[in-house]
């Protein structure tokens, strides 16, 4: 039995956001960090919102917590009143040592999982997540890499095989691992195209660059197009970033 990977699920708890169908089952082998959060405008003190909404939010979180526990997950819950949702999500993902943040969406079947692999950086966390969440299911995982210019097919295959080996070493069923290499100019478009045949997507968190300020984060672009749940594997945060 592998260690349960911690997965953060942020839910806007007071705005009627709920857990889409299939997500509790998807996470039955995970340690779910259930983050109920409520974003308030700057004119309002967070404590003011707490005074008024805590009871309702807690009742709602109780229901959601039960959903995950019934499916078999362990649950760790937090309720946060905040002015900046992203700051809260980043902080909790770090504090609770979460391997990934889940952008929830309905999932009917869990047969085909696409795992987008960017490079060797963070591959350890990617492996731990895929193993922890999917080893105990019947899903086939497809390790997918978009080769960059000047990167040979052999290099790309080595990268994916390395990940596949780590999974099988942990006892992940060899027959349920496939690899796929793509060559296209833009990795984001390539991933979006590839997701058509899949139920669940796993991808890495992207570093904010200038381009992401203009076009938005690749993760958000992909999540917007893809109709299933997306696991965003968090990069390791150095102490200085705290």
């Amino acid at each position: 039995m592998t260690e349960r990977p911690s997965v953060l699920i942020p839910i806007r708890v007071l705005e009627g956001e709920s857990i889409p169908d299939g997500v509790p089952t998807l996470l039955s082998d995970a340690n779910v960090v259930l983050l109920g959060y409520h974003v308030i405008p700057e004119q309002t003190a967070p404590g003011q919102a707490k005074m008024q909404f805590e009871e309702r939010a807690t009742a709602r979180l109780d229901e959601l917590e039960a959903l995950f526990e019934d499916a078999g997950a362990t649950v760790n819950r937090r309720l946060v009143f905040t002015h900046q949702a992203q700051k809260t999500i980043n902080r909790l993902s770090h504090e609770e040592d979460c391997l990934a943040v889940l952008i929830p969406d309905t999932v009917a079947e869990m047969d085909d999982v696409l795992v987008a692999v960017r490079g060797t950086v963070g591959i350890d966390r990617l492996a731990r997540l895929v193993d922890g969440v999917f080893a105990g299911t019947g899903a086939t995982v497809t390790l997918y890499h978009v080769a960059r210019e000047g990167e040979s097919d052999a290099d790309a295959q080595t990268l994916l095989d390395g990940l596949a080996d780590r999974l099988t070493d942990n006892g992940f069923d060899d027959d349920r691992i496939e690899t796929r290499i793509e060559r296209e100019q833009d990795p984001v478009d390539a991933i979006i195209d590839a997701t058509v045949d899949f139920d669940v997507l796993v991808m890495g968190e992207s570093d904010p660059t200038l381009a992401t300020f203009v076009f938005g984060l690749p993760v958000d672009q992909v999540a917007e197009q893809f109709l299933g749940p997306v696991f965003v594997v968090q990069r390791e945060r150095s102490e200085s970033e705290e």
């Binding site: 700057e42 309002t44 003190a45 967070p46 707490k50 008024q52 809260t88």
Partner: protein, 474 residues
């Protein structure tokens, strides 16, 4: 606090429970409830500087020069020193109790509910007076802008600046209730622009005064109006130094409070003091204090026109609009936070801090700020508004210093500030005496109104919340 707040008010409401702990990034409430801290050092400085700079530079120079002559420079310096003497103790208390409510919170927890109620209600109303003062200033700037483009509003039954002040007061309140856009970013931007414009303008002004550009500055006597007006002017212009306490009213939302609170409070006082002193020096060198005094609230525009011609005047007009606008906006928001802090502690009805579901904003608390502000704007008493605002703040400042002395002497186990002021006990003692002393030099009318507000606050406490105990284990 080790001793939880207890008791209930006449409506049967109890103070909300105290937080369990404070981290760099959150206030922890109960088992798994957290309040995220989202204001960084820059945000804190912007609140402090943004609130203060509007008054000292864009409203007071003319008024101060008329009263004290060139020695108005000294009046601003005195105000700055007193503000610094209070900002240091406030910083220490804020790092020990980084919770929303600022001075009110420190005083109610260390000296008890009655002092807390007087200071808390006084803080709310003090901010109301300050906002009204900024709005009248803003009105003057809009009138000046319109005059510059040839539109005259003369012929109205009341002063046009009052009408404009009322319009903007109502508009800002409505915007705070209904607006969900990121106002903090805007506020930060305004402060950066203001500081850049002022630095450029003042550098030129100082060089000019030093004769670099070959002009003669007006020779004049420093104490042209005598010595006493220096102190009464210091009392008047002290409204320019109220902003650092606003940083403490949002202490519960500041990230890394032990580091950022002292830096933001002391830093903003030092920055604005420098700007004020240089501004008055430049303004009086350019015209002479006597002539400057005749220009009233928008005297700086004439200074800029004299130094840099029409572009200079336009630049300072726009800067003045931004500055008075941001001061008024920040004060309305702080006033609403004070209402929340009082309502949390059952000194005001719980419904006063209710949040509406549509916008997620505290419409009642904002209305309790905006409503009385409009009444006060309509009075058009710039100097009285400024002085009453200062009076109510100075009472709080003096008590903050006393609260520090009380806590240091008793040294309760929960009192563990991460920032300890240098110069204890001299700094808080001088701070308390100077704050109280400045009140003596105000207009009798301002003193009477200030005492009436305090008396009213005390009576409200006796009627509404006699049984509420807020004092910690001191």
């Amino acid at each position: 606090m080790s001793d939880p707040a207890t008791g209930e008010n006449v409506a049967g409401e109890r103070p909300a429970p105290e937080p369990e702990g404070v981290t760099d990034e959150t206030t922890v409430q109960g088992d798994d409830v957290e309040l995220e801290r989202t204001i960084g050092l820059v945000g804190g400085l912007a609140i402090g500087i943004g609130t203060m700079i509007g008054a000292g530079i864009f409203v007071f120079p003319g008024l101060a020069a008329a009263e004290a002559g060139l020695a108005a420079t000294l009046s601003f310096a005195i105000g700055g020193v007193i503000a610094l003497l209070v900002a240091l103790p406030t910083s220490e208390l804020a790092t020990a109790m980084p919770r929303s409510g600022g001075g009110y919170y420190f005083i109610s927890r260390s000296m008890g509910t009655s002092y807390g109620a007087i200071v808390g209600l006084g803080l709310w109303l003090g901010l109301v007076f300050a906002s009204a003062f900024y709005l009248v200033g803003l009105g003057h700037y809009i009138v000046a802008v319109l005059a510059e483009v040839g539109i005259s509003l003369a012929g109205l039954p009341v002063g046009p600046h009052v009408v404009l002040g009322l319009l903007f007061g109502a508009g800002l309140t409505a915007l705070s209730v209904g607006g969900t856009e990121n106002t903090a970013k805007l506020q930060n931007g305004i402060v950066v622009v203001l500081l850049a414009v002022l630095t450029g303008f003042l550098t030129y002004g100082v060089l000019d005064a030093a004769g670099v550009f070959g002009r003669q500055s007006v020779p004049q006597e420093f104490f042209s109006q005598g010595h006493l007006p220096v102190l009464s002017t210091a009392a008047l212009v002290f409204t320019s130094y109220l902003g650092f306490a606003q940083v403490a009213t949002v202490a519960g939302e500041i990230k890394q409070p032990s580091r950022n609170l002292p830096l933001a409070m002391v830093g903003s006082v030092v920055v604005v003091t420098l700007f004020y002193v240089v501004t008055i020096f430049v303004a009086t060198s350019s015209f002479g204090a006597d002539r400057l005094g005749t220009f009233g609230e928008t005297a700086m525009v004439e200074v800029a026109r004299d130094l840099l011609g029409l572009p200079g005047a336009v630049m300072i007009l726009i800067a003045g609009l931004l500055a008075t606008f941001s001061s008024a906006n920040a004060s309305i928001l702080s006033a609403s936070r004070s209402v929340y802090a009082l309502s949390r502690d059952a000194l005001l009805p719980r419904w006063a801090s209710k949040i509406n579901l549509k916008y997620g904003t505290p419409h009642i608390a904002l209305g309790m700020a905006g409503g009385p502000i409009l009444v006060l704007v309509a009075t058009d008493q710039v100097e009285i508004l400024a002085e009453v605002a200062s009076f109510l703040h100075l009472v709080m400042y003096a008590l903050i210093c006393v609260a520090l002395l009380v806590l240091r002497r008793r040294d309760p186990p929960w009192y563990d500030p991460s920032f300890r002021i240098p110069g204890y006990p001299a700094v808080p003692i001088v701070g308390a005496v100077a704050s109280a002393g400045l009140i003596v030099f105000m207009n009798p009318a301002s003193i009477v109104i200030g005492i009436a507000v305090m008396g009213g606050s005390y009576l409200w406490y006796r009627y509404y919340a006699t049984d509420v105990k807020l004092k910690g284990d001191v």
